[in-house]
Each structure stands twice: as structure tokens, then as C-alpha cells.
Amino acid sequence: MSTSDGGHPLVRLRNVHTRFGAVRAVDGVDLDIRRGEILGLVGESGSGKTTLGRTILRLAPLTSGRIEYDGQDLSDLNRRQLRRLRRRLQIVFQDPHSSLSPRLKVSYLLKEPYTINKVPDDERYTAAELLDMVELSSEQAAKYPHELSGGQARRVGIARALALRPEFLIADEPTAGLDVSAAGAILNLLNDLAGQLRLTYLIITHNVNVVGYLADRIAVMYLGRLAEVGPTASVLDAPAHPYTQALLSAVPQPGEAGTTRRLLIAGEIPSPKNPPPGCRFHTRCPYAEDRSRTEMPELQPVAPGHTVACHYWQKVRDASAVSPAAEKTQGGGGCIPPIDHSSYESPKEDR
């Protein structure tokens, strides 16, 4: 776990909103990312996690709110200043094959960030050095992206992001689409690089197991808002938000063959065009009461460094200790939970 060195966090988000027309992709997020930490942002599709990452880099519009990077308000910066700052913030995109131009060789792709940013020669890594950092042989430099395996392409994407010696790296679904062993190797690599290069990470993923393996802290996102934030151990061992509980039980540990009790939550994530009033999760929540339907819960502390946006978190935790709610709604007997999202529009975006 990182120390917060008494100073300001590396990234500070305050009441951040990102809208695309009527779609409220990010809808009021407060979050600090501390220097040197690995923060895992977890959520399902439509939660706004990727948009939040892109908003930090100003690749998606900041509709309202404030983003500070290293104490500087990003909205104060002009284009040139922003471009200079971007060298310190890099992103590894989700699909390496669509972010690497198919017509350029790896050696060129690795040089490109230097050309774009007019980096003087003595500050450049060679292609071989960059490939070595991501544990690829220098022979890969002569290849085109289609000649690389999924794991190798992912590594080239990481090498490209590292070229400018960033201090902050956003990795969007770093293991999506990879086979088990290739995914494991990428996670090991990210972990090693964090230590060697003193990087700060924001890891965006839908996979709770990935985050548990890598992250110091976890932020759980649901329908544009944060549901729970805290140290990894605290969130995984004592989740206080019903959504976090559902997510954890929906992703069992490998090897717990058929023995797990899973808390099934009914229905699907509502559309961000028309989010439900009050608590965003109340339409699917087994603990929701009238207050959840009218009053939006703010993040409140439940343990040191651990906050949760739920009016009834105490009840939720007490219940999950003996887990009567889990018994009630889990489908071990084979019943399908009742589905009622008739009052809200279902998401219609393609996945």
C-alpha cells in the first residue's frame, strides 16, 4: 500500500461528470489516486469505468467537475500544456490490434511517440530497450502487428505507453481476450513494471480476480457512480455495498467447484440515459427501501480508508455475515430470480 506522503494525491477527481448527449456516462465521481499506488476500477459494461479513465486523460469531455493532476487543474491548461502533460500520463488501450496500426512495423510503432512529442535523441529508449522492458525479444521489432500473438501485441502496447517515461499509466482491460496463461504473464509484467519504474496505475477491468491480484485499492463503479472504495483486502473481505457483494459472489474463485453460494442479483444494469432516481442500484438491490428510491447515497466511511455509497450498509454487512439475504435470493435450487426492470429502459448499446 502506498503512503500518501502527506501531500496532494497524484490525481484528484471532484464531482466529475461526463455526458454524451443525454447519456450520463460518468455522473458525479470523487476519487483520489495516490502517487505510487495501483488502483483497480471495477465495473460491468455500461458502468462508465472506461469513460472515467478517458476523461482523466481528457480523451472524453469533462462536462462538469474538476480534475487535478499533481495539484494542477487540468481545465486551466491550454492545448500545448495539456500535450506536454500527457507525456506523463499514458494509456494502454483495450484492444491492442485496433490501437496498433496494421501497416507499421513494431520498430516504427515504438518510435512514433518520440516523433509526435519531438523528444530529443538522448531521452529516447531504443526499440530493443523497450521490448526488453516488456520481456519481448528484439526480433519482434521487425514484425507487423498481425504477426504477433494477442499477448505479444498487448506487450507492444505497453512498451509504447512506457516510451515516454510516464509516471501514471491507465490500463483498460489489460487481460481481456487473452488466454489464461498469456493473461497471467501480462499481470506479472504490470506488477513488475510498477515496482521497477515507480509507476502509478489505474487498472480498469470487469474482472474482480484481476483487481484482487494487482491492486492496492479498489473502486467499484455502477451506472456512472462509485459504489464503494477502499483497500483491496477490506473491500474483498468485507464488502459493504450490496452490488460489490453480488459482483464478488458472481465471480467465484477458481476451483470452488459447485460449492459456492452465489448471491444473484436480478435484472440488468439500467440505461445511463435514464438512470433511476435515488440510489442507482435500488432497482436490483435486495436491501432497497423507500429512502433508496428517493435519496442518492453519498460515499461514507465504514472502515479506515474504506467508503461506501449505501444508506443501509450496516444492515447489508450484518446480513451478509449470516447471509440470510444470500440464501433468499440465490438460485441454488434452480429458480430464476424475478426480473422487473419494466419501469426503466434496458440498455440497448451493442456490446
Binding site: E44, G184, V211, G212, A250
Partner: protein
């Protein structure tokens, strides 16, 4: 398995793809059987032959693919060599399929109700009245968890969310009460909480209809949740088969061991994940010995020369020289060395 005849019995299945005048073997000697009502998992990494297997089972291999030897028997009837018409009658009738992406299985320009009626008409002919067919379809939609199925009967696929579409595809697959359902990565496009719902749905449907399911997935965790027995594939071969609990508790094949060790777990914070060095061998250069030898921790010279047989081991099967007393492999590893 039991003394009775299995529902699906696959023996020594070999599939070749003809590419530029050469024949590449995508499946080699794949064997398994499935009892009625059983959920059988097929796992492996990309390129191991999972999808070729599902295509071969339903007679939908691409034009350059061919079953070159072996047999596929469904309820005792040989499927290999059936004509196109017979296969078409079989598909959707006795065998049904569910694919990863529901959008590719639903026609976007036709109302879902019409599609559900068409499936029945194609197989049942004109024997049934429209009202009966519609009632059947609505019942099935309700059973797979589509709310207000009757009102939504006239909706188009795009009016449903991803999870709902997959439920519709499953309803369509089950309409004709198939004895065998082939599900190829049916939950891979879905989010975790939807995936959990879908797993419960598959278990329930097996319970309600007694449908046997071939559940193909790269996700070991999902397979451990939904399946009774499972088979692990590597480089076109079945390398291990057994009941799910045993395979997870005590994997036999070094590849299975490595796969299980590589799955990240949220309880392993800060630990290094085990990985499998090297890559899946190319189909165009099959090795003489064991296909996994180059990546195997337990490799001995014998493994590079002798192709392992698929041997029985405590009610399970494994393709590895370590477990074959006739192979000449020295001192099998103890369990402590392995984990």
C-alpha cells in the same frame, strides 16, 4: 460411464482442414461420451480445437474442413456421412446450438416472435396451429426469464439487451426439446452478474427438460460452476477427462495443472501468477512425441519420442506418458511436487 448407451458417443474423431494443398489436422483422436441430461464442459485455450469440435458435432465445418476418421453417434445413430437435408433436420430438432454472440443467431430485421414461430414450422411442418406454436414460444420465453413475454413477442432483437437476447437464443434452441444442446462460449460476452444468472439458467433448463449440454468455454471458473464432467483439450487432442470436482481438486495432466495455476485469484494478492512458457504448437508442424512436451515442467526424453496414449486413470482419462506404466517414464511426480 453407466451401462446404458450414452446419448452422444464420439470415438477417435479426426478433423482436417485443407489449406493450400496441405492437410492440417485440427482434431486428432478426440473421444468422449455424454449421458442424457449431463452437462459436459470442453475447455482449452484458443487454437486447441474447441470450436472445430462443436462445428464437427453439428455438421457445420467450413468447406475446407472434413471429418477424416472416427465416429459421432447420437442416440446410437451415426452422424458422420449424413446428407445435408438429414443434418438440417437434426439441427434445431435433436441437436440445438447457442453461440457466444446472440446477435449473429437472431435476424435483426425480423420480430423475435416470428423467428420463434419459423423454427417450429421448419421442423414441425404444418401440423400445428399458429395459436399453439405461439403459446409454446411464449411459454419457453417465460421459462428462460423474459418478462412480459407475450407483450414482447412482436419486438425486434435490438429492443432487447445483450443478456435478454442470449435468453431468447436459448429459448429458440430449446423450443423443439432437443436432447443435446451445444453451447459455444455462451456466457463469454456477458458481464459477471449476467453470467451468474445464465449459469443458473442452464442448470435449471437441464433440470426441467433433461437436455444434455456440451458447454464449450475458455473459462475454467465457469466450467467448474456449471458442468458435471469436463474434458481439457490441447493442440487438437483431448488430454484429460473427468468429473469436474476431481479435475479441479487433482488435475492429472501437466497442462491442466498449469492452466489451473494460471487463473488469477483475488486471494493471491502480490503473489506471482504461474504462467505456461512457450506457445501452442503450430498445426502445420506436429511433433512426434507429446504435443505439450516443449512447455511441460515434467518433460523427459521419452516424451519427445513417444506420442502418449489416452489412458484410463481412476475413472478418469489422461493423455500423458507419466500415467502410462508402459511408456518408460521414470518416477511419476508426487502430488507435493506438482502443486
Amino acid at each position: 460411464m453407466t451401462g446404458s448407451q450414452p446419448l452422444l458417443d464420439v470415438r477417435q474423431l479426426e478433423v482436417a482442414y485443407h489449406v493450400r494443398g496441405r492437410s492440417l489436422l485440427a482434431l486428432r483422436g478426440v473421444e468422449f461420451d455424454i449421458a442424457a441430461g449431463e452437462i459436459f464442459g470442453v475447455v482449452g485455450e484458443s487454437g486447441c480445437g474447441k470450436s472445430t469440435l462443436s462445428a464437427a458435432l453439428i455438421g457445420l465445418l467450413p468447406a475446407n474442413g472434413e471429418i477424416t476418421s472416427g465416429s459421432i453417434r447420437l442416440d446410437g445413430r451415426e452422424l458422420r456421412g449424413l446428407g445435408r437435408r438429414e443434418l438440417r433436420q437434426l439441427r434445431g430438432g435433436q441437436i440445438a446450438m447457442v453461440f457466444q454472440d446472440p446477435l449473429t443467431s437472431l435476424n435483426p430485421t425480423i420480430r423475435i416472435g416470428t423467428q420463434l414461430l419459423d423454427v417450429q414450422r421448419a421442423h414441425l411442418g404444418g401440423q400445428r396451429r399458429r395459436g399453439d406454436l405461439r403459446r409454446r414460444a411464449v411459454e419457453m420465453l417465460t421459462q428462460v426469464g423474459i418478462p412480459d413475454a407475450s407483450e414482447r413477442f412482436g419486438d425486434y432483437p435490438h429492443q432487447f439487451s445483450g443478456g435478454m437476447r442470449q435468453r431468447i437464443v436459448i429459448a429458440m434452441a430449446l423450443l423443439l426439446r432437443p436432447s443435446l444442446l451445444i453451447a459455444d462460449e455462451p456466457t463469454s460476452a456477458l458481464d459477471a452478474t449476467l453470467e451468474a444468472q445464465m449459469i443458473e439458467l442452464f442448470k435449471q433448463l437441464r433440470h426441467d427438460f433433461g437436455t444434455a449440454i456440451v458447454f464449450i468455454s475458455h473459462d475454467l471458473t465457469v466450467v467448474s460452476q456449471v458442468c458435471d464432467r469436463m474434458m481439457v483439450m490441447y493442440a487438437g487432442q483431448a488430454v484429460e477427462e473427468g468429473d469436474v470436482q476431481s479435475v479441479f481438486r487433482e488435475p492429472l495432466h501437466p497442462y491442466t495443472k498449469a492452466l489451473l495455476a494460471a487463473v488469477p485469484s483475488r486471494n493471491q494478492r502480490g503473489e506471482r501468477l504461474a504462467t505456461i512458457p512457450g506457445r501452442v504448437p503450430s498445426l502445420s508442424a506436429p511433433s512426434d512425441g507429446c504435443a505439450f512436451a516443449d512447455r511441460c515442467t515434467f518433460v523427459q526424453p521419452v516424451n519427445r519420442e513417444r506420442e502418449p496414449h489416452y489412458v484410463a486413470w481412476n475413472g478418469r482419462r489422461v493423455r500423458c506418458n507419466i500415467y502410462d506404466p508402459t511408456s518408460g517414464y521414470q518416477s511419476p511426480p508426487r502430488r507435493e511436487d506438482v502443486s
